[in-house]
Amino acid sequence: MSDELTALRDELESAVLAADSLDALEDVRVRALGRRGAVTELMKSLGRAAPGERRERGQALNRLKQAVGDAIDARKAALAEVELERRLAEERIDITLPVRPAPEGSLHPISQTIDEITQIFGEMGFRWAEGPDIEDDWHNFTALNIPPEHPARQEMDTFYLAGEAGARPVLRTHTSPVQIRTMLETPPPLRVIVPGRTYRSDHDATHSPMFHQVEGLAIDRAIHMGHLKGCLIAFCRAFFGVADLPVRFRPSHFPFTEPSAEVDIGCTREGGQLRIGAGGDWLEILGSGMVHPKVIANCGLDPEEWQGFAFGMGIERIAMLKYGIPDLRTMYDSDLRWLRHYGFRPLDIPDLIAEAAE
């Protein structure tokens, strides 16, 4: 390359590097490679060159053009990169700003507990059964072997609706009448659980005039108390999530079961803190027993052929024990702070096949 062309190349390359914007770079390109650009003009003048030099000069000019073009492309890419960096820097936002609101609600611990109970007993083949909250005397008492004179029937325990004496409807005092309805409607063998609202005329720190119970009933030809124990021990351990939870059955009395057993679970009260598990102390959590032959007969079944067990427990009570809820009455207060604190996330679906998410 002649000195002349070398000088031109150096000059143009300097100009390219000096261009500090795409516009300035374009100016350089036009000056060098545009229609009247320096390189273009030199190419045009090639025809005037001596024939002996023409080929060599042509090659030199092409190299010059290529070099300048490459320099411009390189510079363009560099400038674009700078430009992008600048734009991105400008586009920065405050990522610590709170997100747009999408408030999540919560599930009441009673509902959650019912779902948990359903899961566990569902695995054992129990199905839901339901019945009305307003019951007649026969289903709530008589059929369950609770005679008319029984103290439970007195006003001190039972809510009555307006009606004729002796035929007043009652707010069911337990979920047990659904035992009767089930046995009357469904031929055995059967296994049902009955979660639902129950009502008793009592209102103080540990009693609410409305509360929830879950009733269980299993009827077949050869169900005995060993099965009752197996079923309820499995339930207690699964529900409280304590694999070695001690469970004690002790004799008791209910009009509708014979024999009857109260069920206690192990706990400790060390340091004033109640903890469910092995620990030498006991906590009563449910009542159970073999369905009384009279109750079976009252449902039109032959107690010599059919037998089984029944149990009932307070849903609030086991929820309070499991989740450490200190006061029964707060369950029904609808205080948002309480509902958020003791409530459950909508997708906390109890599931025996999955580890809990938390």
């Binding site: 599930l107 009441h108 209102h203 108390m225 014979e258 024999p259 369950m331 609808s334 948002l336 909508p346």
Partner: protein, 805 residues
């Protein structure tokens, strides 16, 4: 039921410890509610003798005592004024815990003199407030003996919770019998029980049962006249036992009746015979008849109550409580002993009506051994003669012991088939006999007769329970109880699983689930279409909870108000539960159906990205739609009608209907309703009715989905601005748009509502984005023009709209 360990040992010969007895009681079904064992706190304190008491060299008021504890001689510095040489006191060694101060004693030096323990005052022992000096014991008190034993405080008090069937254990005798059957010792005899006391004369007082057509009210009355008694305090051992179980000692005559009540479960009464007018008459009460009772209160009888009377007046409520006028006093000389039998049901009813909870009622309403009436009268007579002297008449007995004998067939194999643990027949018989039952063979099984003190035994299942509880529930082997099929059938009914999904959907939709009472004030119910007389409670717990709810709304509105009053000025609550609307559903007579209800109150969240605004009817509409979607309702097919019930704002509410059936209501609340609930807006609510949502018809293909039809051609979106009169509803415009070409128009959405400049007053502009989805070919300009013209024409025809210029 309370008793002491030593009293129990009157009936039970046992080596068992207190803990073993308590464990056995609980496992027999006699649940131990509590044990009070004062000896536990006093166990380190012993009887000691003060060998010498010299003045302290450094302190005038202190003495240095040399104390013989029986085991050793120790030096104790004592500040009590009565500490002196030779006295017997109570010694606490170093290291023992002092109940009265709560402190643990340390070996110490007091003003330079070593002190190794303490001589205690009653206050320090925790037995009284006496602190004038240290305890002084009689000189013959055995040296080194435990103080608790010397003071009679070493007898633990056990309290059991009796189930209503176990009347026999309302006496210590019955408790001992159960324990003996379980192998904790041998049941002793009761000296003198069942023996008769000779009478010296004919009773001047006779007994007549005048019960008319209610002879069962008091079938038996055994009595005895005793003359010349002298009533004073009962012996200390009787007083100690009664005090320990919570009964105040009164006088020998009264204490004797209480003693047999506790000991044998046999209530008794003693009248001052000189205050009786003529014979004893047992009759039903008369309306308005008043008796001043022994508890110092006056009670009114009625014709359903049994009274023990004389010829002139009523003197006692039979089986419940005696009367003041004929009660025994210190001056009583001649007495008449009553040992009767009363009907359990009538006793319970009378006791409830009178509001009296007495030891007699507690036993009679559970059922007292009918054979104990005469035996109790004889035993009480013997004890009165022993404690108070006097001379007994011949017995007076009216009525008969009612028949109590009965037999049941008992198959010992039922213990295995019902109870789950096989107990050999011989062992069953052994257990039953130990409990007082007679058992004999009878064609292949056993014939068992319960004893008179077990009125609760009424069949074979009861006998199985007796054997099981004595054998021990803990010996029933745990049997597996798996589902009858490998995969259990679904546990939830369709209604229940819908409700479960609904709850979680509403929670996911931002609402907190509440659980409120099924009852509410009738005035609230009336505001929400309820309050019928048939749904009023006869005996509400308060007038605010006197009516079954026709809607959950009032409870939630009230909860919203309470939250807002507490500073939680915005929020959202929901509840799924029963409501009672007779006639609304033919489920059962009280119209119980399930409802889902939600309330939002206050302003939407204040946030940098959007302006906050009061919650409104359309928030409630969104909640209602979320609920219905969760219930699998066909939300695309719903019609919105402006006819929500009267508790909603008439201009800001609506119903979501499928055909004519309202699946939900939503809207802002009527201001009058809010005012009646003391609530103030803004509040918006919905109520949805899961039972009204139809169950989708089973499809021929089952769960198979139809093939997916995807158009190969680009959809086109076109915007239209329609100017319509203010009263034209957006729903009408959208319906007209969609109806203009059902094949081509895939979607239509309102993206702006404009009023103001450029639009005449009384009109509004609705901007609608229409999505056109060609199926067969790409849309040409001509196709688009034609479709737009059809849309504009359809909307104009339906609503009178014109395109905005």
């Amino acid at each position: 039921m309370k008793f002491t360990f030593s009293w129990l040992k009157d009936h039970l010969d046992t080596e068992a410890t207190l803990d073993e007895v308590c464990e056995a009681l609980t496992m027999l079904g006699l649940e131990v509610d509590g044990v009070e064992d004062r000896a536990r706190d006093l166990k380190s304190f012993t009887v000691a003798r003060v060998l010498s008491a010299e003045p302290h060299p450094q302190a005038d008021r202190l003495r240095v005592c040399q104390v013989d504890t029986g085991a050793e001689e120790v030096q104790v510095v004592c500040g009590a004024p009565n500490a002196r040489t030779g006295m017997m006191g109570v010694f606490a060694p170093s290291g023992s815990w002092i109940p009265g101060t709560g402190l643990t004693l340390k070996k110490t030096a007091i003003r330079g003199v070593e002190s190794n323990g303490m001589l205690l005052s009653e206050r320090e022992l925790g037995v009284s407030d006496e602190h004038e000096g240290i305890v002084e014991l009689p000189g013959d008190t055995p040296l080194g003996a435990p103080y608790a034993r010397v003071a009679g405080l070493d007898d633990p008090v056990i309290e059991i919770g009796l189930t209503p069937n176990r009347s026999d254990c309302a006496g210590i005798r019955g408790i001992a019998r159960d324990l003996a059957a379980r192998g904790l010792g041998a049941l002793k005899g009761v000296p003198g029980w069942g023996e008769s006391v000779p009478g010296a004369f004919e009773s001047p007082v006779a007994v007549r049962l005048e019960l008319g057509d209610r002879p069962e009210a008091c079938p038996l009355f055994a009595g005895r006249y005793i003359r010349g008694v002298s009533n004073g305090p009962s012996p200390k051992w009787v007083q100690d036992r009664l005090s320990a179980v919570g009964l105040r000692p009164i006088s020998a005559l009264v204490d004797i009746t209480n003693y047999f009540t506790m000991d044998m479960g046999r209530p008794l009464h003693v009248f001052d015979a000189d205050r009786l007018e003529g014979d004893v008459v047992v009759r039903m009460g008369r309306d308005g008849e008043e008796i001043a009772a022994l508890d110092g209160r006056s009670y009114t009888a009625d014709p359903e109550m049994v009274l023990i009377c004389d010829e002139a007046k009523g003197n006692a409520f039979g089986g419940i409580i005696g009367g003041e006028a004929t009660g025994c006093t210190e001056e009583t000389v001649n007495v008449f002993v009553e040992s009767a039998l009363f009907d359990p049901l009538r006793t319970a009813a009378t006791g409830r009506r009178l509001g009296v909870l007495s030891d007699a009622r507690y036993r009679f309403e559970r059922g007292v051994d009918p054979t104990s009436a005469v035996a109790g009268m004889e035993a009480a007579t013997r004890m009165i003669l022993d404690f108070c002297g006097g001379e007994a008449s011949l017995p007076v007995v009216a009525g008969d012991v009612p028949e109590w004998r009965r037999r049941y067939r008992f198959r010992p194999e039922r213990v295995g088939s019902l109870g789950g643990v096989a107990v050999p027949a011989a062992r069953c018989v052994e257990i039953l006999r130990a409990l007082g039952f007679e058992a004999g063979d009878e064609d292949g099984g056993l014939s068992v007769a319960p004893p008179p003190w077990r009125p609760d035994i009424l069949g074979e299942a009861d006998l199985v329970e007796e054997v099981l509880r004595v054998h021990g529930f803990e010996h029933i082997p745990v049997a597996d109880f798996p589902a009858p099929t490998v995969l259990p059938a679904p546990a939830l009914t369709r209604a229940a699983s819908r409700a479960a999904v609904l709850r979680r959907a509403l929670a996911a939709h931002g609402m907190a689930e509440a659980v409120t009472f099924s009852f509410m004030p009738a005035r609230w119910a009336a505001l929400f279409g309820g309050g019928e007389a048939a749904l009023r409670l006869d005996n509400p717990i308060s007038s605010d909870l006197d009516c079954m709810r026709p809607s959950i709304l009032p409870n939630l509105l009230d909860a919203a108000r309470r939250n807002a009053d507490g500073g939680r000025t915005a929020g959202a609550l929901f509840e799924v539960g029963p409501v009672f609307r007779p006639g609304a559903a033919a489920i059962e007579p009280y119209g119980q159906l399930q409802a889902a209800c939600g309330v939002r109150w206050g302003e939407t969240v204040r946030h940098w990205s959007e302006r906050s605004r009061p919650v409104d009817a359309l928030d409630a509409k969104a909640d209602a739609l979320a609920a219905l979607r969760a219930l699998a309702a066909p939300v695309d097919k719903l019609r919105v009608s402006a006819d929500a019930p009267a508790w909603f704002h008439p201009g800001r509410s609506g119903a979501l209907r499928l055909g004519a059936v309202a699946l939900a209501h939503f809207g802002e609340l009527h201001p009058r309703v809010l005012q009646a609930l003391d609530a103030s807006g803004p509040m918006a609510a919905f109520e949805a009715f899961p039972d009204a949502v139809p169950v989708p018809r089973a499809k021929a293909g089952g769960k198979l989905r139809p093939a997916l039809a995807r158009s190969a051609f680009q959809p086109v979106e076109r915007d239209f601005a329609f100017v319509v009169a203010e009263e034209v509803e957006a729903g009408s415009v959208l319906r007209a748009v969609l109806g203009a070409d059902r094949k081509l128009i895939a979607d239509a959405a309102v993206f702006d509502v404009y009023r103001g400049k450029g639009i005449e007053p009384g009109a509004k502009s609705l901007a609608v984005a229409v999505t056109l989805q060609p199926q067969d070919a790409t849309l040409t300009d001509a196709d688009l023009e034609a479709a737009s013209a059809r849309i504009v024409a359809a909307v104009a025809k339906a609503t009178g709209a014109v395109l905005r210029g």
